[in-house]
């Protein structure tokens, strides 16, 4: 009997929208605290100048840009899971895509902050945007930073549309299962009067398909563009052609890890154990083996090519990065964390062990963050003229802004899962019915 199954799904998912537990609230309060700290730090930076950071003349970019790249990367997994796997008709995506997409949106928002934070004169940031003005001045469309702006805003817009579209029927479901009140009014508004009529469904399906088909090439391009911030420059360690695929793989890698990190506590907190079952985590773990090995390939090729090039700068730089740099430990940490740790998922009992899943994912995320730092700051400290070699150590404002990012992201995510169904109801029902088909 189908409807039993469907009812169960509704109940299971919608119960998670109940009033948050004290512990849940506490976590959110902590996030708020982090945000407050970060904002305070930023105020100082705003009023005093970039001098409060640890930046210098050889190292113009470091923690802020690292955060930017890292968060954008996090965002990618969401789109991958919801769009690419949708196109590949990988069934297993259907439960986690909602959470993943939410993660995408908030991650992009978080990432979007940092290009602003790192500007010397943030109050005129809008000069980077192409808008008609009486000065007849325009941004430089040859600059990777302008590409960034365009790519990231596009990404945010499109993935938000995609996300909202997916959410629509579920909001309707929620609407019809809440007692009158603020929530109900919110849902009624947000559901745009969805009735579940099959004419609506028809157009809905086409739109969803169209957006999925568009967002897939987009997600590949966005992190390529981000990687070109560096590949376009002639700094050794930045200027290399493999960056685009390499960064995309890295992005998805860290993104998957983040989904795991988010969902493992979430399924407990929201009592969704029967929704987010181990199976889905296994699939993501397996995917991480792939992304991890792409990254490994890139590391290898980069190192080999710098030797093969027989270019004094290239060779010295890669030797420096691997053996002499202040970041050397982090370099090796990133190599192990990104390439070796995921390989453990070849073993079933590694990828089916909750604890290890969590730990491994945290390692991968950390490693990916340090990869960005090693690439960005680690290359700048050692460029062409030895007289200008420098070093970089983050200072308090940068640390606090990083905390702010974490706080903001978590806060937004936790708010979301309490506000909207955190698993795709209609998709799950869809699967339920199809499974039924098979049984018959």
């Amino acid at each position: 009997m189908a409807n039993v199954e469907l009812k169960r799904i509704d109940e299971e998912v919608l119960q998670s929208l109940g009033r948050p537990s004290p512990r849940y609230a506490a976590v959110m309060a902590l996030c708020a605290l982090l945000m407050a700290a970060g904002l305070t730090a930023y105020m100082f930076q705003y009023y005093l100048g970039m001098g409060v950071t640890g930046l210098s003349v050889p190292v113009g970019w470091a923690t802020y840009i690292t955060n930017f790249v890292w968060w954008i990367g996090i965002a990618h997994a969401g789109t991958l899971i919801s769009a690419i796997l949708f196109l590949f008709r990988a069934k297993w995506r259907n439960r986690i895509n909602r959470a993943a997409e939410a993660m995408t949106i908030f991650a992009i928002m978080t990432a979007g902050l940092f290009p602003l934070v790192h500007l010397g004169r943030v109050w005129v940031f809008f000069w980077i945007l192409p808008y008609p003005n009486w000065r007849h001045t325009w941004p430089n469309f040859k600059s990777p930073l302008v590409w960034d702006v365009i790519a990231v805003t596009t990404y945010l817009t499109v993935s938000t549309l995609f996300f909202y579209l997916g959410l629509l029927p579920d909001i309707a479901a929620a609407r019809d299962r809440t007692e009158p009140g603020v929530r109900k009014r919110l849902y009624t508004f947000a559901a745009l009067g969805w009735t579940g009529k099959y004419d609506e469904w028809r157009h809905y399906a086409r739109t969803y398909l169209a957006l999925a088909a568009l967002v897939t090439p987009l997600v590949i391009s966005v992190h390529s563009v981000v990687s070109w911030d560096f590949a376009m420059a002639l700094v050794k360690g930045w200027h290399t052609t493999i960056f685009a695929p390499y960064f995309v793989a890295g992005a998805i890698h860290s993104g998957l890890a983040t989904v795991i990190i988010l969902l493992i506590p979430l399924r407990k907190a929201l009592r969704l154990e029967r929704v987010f079952t181990l199976y889905y985590f296994e699939q993501m773990a397996l995917l991480m083996i792939l992304t991890g090995s792409i990254i490994a390939y890139s590391y290898g090729v980069e190192a080999f090519m710098s030797w093969y090039s027989a270019d004094v700068f290239e060779r010295q730089f890669s030797a420096f990065r691997a053996f002499h740099s202040p970041y050397t430990p982090w370099f090796w940490f990133m190599v192990v964390g990104n390439c070796v740790v995921p390989l453990t998922f070849f073993w079933k009992n590694a990828r089916t062990n909750w604890a290890w899943l969590l730990i491994a994912s945290i390692i991968v995320d950390a490693a990916m963050w340090f990869e960005r730092l090693v690439i960005i700051a680690g290359s700048l400290i050692h460029d062409y003229l030895p007289s200008e070699w420098g070093w970089y150590v983050p200072r308090l404002p940068e640390v606090l802004m990083t905390c702010f990012a974490l706080g903001f992201f978590t806060f937004a995510f936790l708010t979301f899962v309490k506000l909207f169904p955190s698993a795709a109801l209609s998709e799950m029902k869809h699967d339920a019915l199809e499974r039924e088909e098979e049984r018959i």
Binding site: A231, T241, F243, V301, Y308, S309
Partner: protein, 372 residues
């Protein structure tokens, strides 16, 4: 396989042999040139096909038992490619520039023994592993059901094949393309080479599927949606490869470093080659990308195989463009001889996979179980 096809391809082989012979007799360096082009092209296609088989196996794809077996057939081209490789190694002196003018600082890597050793190891490794994959897959056919052990070892070797494929293709790319322009360096190039190989490999699979659907009576096994999926893979890879191409192009364009730019300027910016290069690019990637937008084309085996042919021509010309200008920057090398040689290789290719497919069941039962 159908007799006509057999005869046609044998004819092609003979023609190609004559062509190459003539080339070597008259202008040896040109002969070498064509040999390299063909090697790079057909090694790519064959390894690409096998990589698909392995990849589908790794991904536990549920729709590909037939396609996998078609892909397996590429393993039969190993002997041909191996012989050509040996000839090429033997004749290195005839075409690589870095023997008379050693590249400064690269002597260790660009030396005849090193070259020979790594190439032979690469070939043995890749073809050996693929052979295992095919053999174990065939072994399963014999059995009534699929024992877990067999399935597991098949998955294992599939993973290995995928990895080995990436590495060996990279080595081929470095040795037979990059080393011909010794000063040039591009990290993404090897990846570009094997991604385009997957692309071409899928194109060939489409052709085989379209060609053998009726003769082997696989109508119920190869439904339109199979072609639709293959079409989508072609679509995805056409875009992805264009992306890789652009990533390399824009990066090098932007900083304009003397060591990097020459390779691209010669082919895509100044001189006699750009028209050909861009044609191959548009024919091989852009047009397929646009055509494959249409569901209708993807669903029809005929239309799709036309696109596949277009892809193969484009990729073929691109291989030519990757190899030839490095050796003769100033003048075009276009001759019937060349065309014939390609024809010949194509013939050999068809014969070998035809031989394979006429030998074994077109359905890999190891993958078939996944459908259930």
């Amino acid at each position: 396989m159908p007799r006509w096809l057999f005869f046609v391809s044998t004819a092609a082989v003979i023609a190609g042999a004559i062509g190459l012979g003539a080339a070597f007799a008259t202008r040896p360096n040109e002969g070498w040139l064509w040999l390299v082009v063909n090697f790079v092209l057909f090694w790519g296609i064959a390894s690409g096909m096998l990589a698909w088989a392995a990849a589908f196996r790794v991904a536990q794809a549920t729709w590909t038992p037939v396609i996998n077996r078609f892909a397996h057939s590429a393993v039969r081209t190993a002997p041909l490619l191996f012989i050509v490789l040996i000839i090429l190694i033997a004749g290195l002196r005839g075409y690589v520039p870095w023997i008379e003018h050693p590249a400064k600082g690269k002597e260790a890597w660009l030396s005849v023994p090193a070259f020979a050793v790594r190439e032979i190891i690469a070939a043995l490794l890749f073809w050996g592993m693929s052979w295992l994959l095919v053999r174990w897959s065939l072994a399963v056919d014999a059995k009534p059901d699929v024992p877990d052990a067999d399935a597991r070892r098949l998955n294992g070797v599939a993973v290995v094949v995928v990895v080995v494929f990436a590495l060996t293709s990279s080595i081929v790319a470095w040795d037979f393309v990059m080393s011909l322009a010794p000063e040039w360096v591009s990290t993404v190039f090897s990846a570009y080479y094997f991604c385009t190989n997957l692309y071409a490999g899928m194109a060939v699979l489409v052709l085989i599927a379209a060609a053998l659907r009726k003769p082997l009576g696989l109508e119920d096994r190869l439904k339109p949606h199979h072609f639709h999926d293959m079409g989508n893979l072609l679509l995805a890879f056409s875009l992805f490869n264009m992306g890789l191409f652009f990533a390399q192009y824009v990066t090098i364009w932007y900083e304009n470093l003397p060591d990097e730019v020459w390779f691209l300027i010669l082919r895509y910016d100044k001189g006699i080659w750009p028209p050909i290069s861009w044609t191959s690019f548009i024919l091989g990637y852009s047009i397929p990308f646009l055509l494959l937008q249409s569901r209708m084309i993807k669903l029809s085996s005929k239309l799709l195989s036309m696109v596949a042919v277009m892809v193969l021509v484009g990729v073929g010309v691109e291989r030519y463009i990757l190899v030839v200008p490095s050796l003769t920057p100033a003048h075009l090398v276009i001759s019937p001889v060349g065309a014939l040689s390609v024809l010949g290789f194509a013939g050999m290719f068809v014969v070998s996979i035809g031989w394979f497919l006429s030998r074994y069941s077109p359905i890999s039962s190891a993958d078939e179980v996944l459908e259930k």
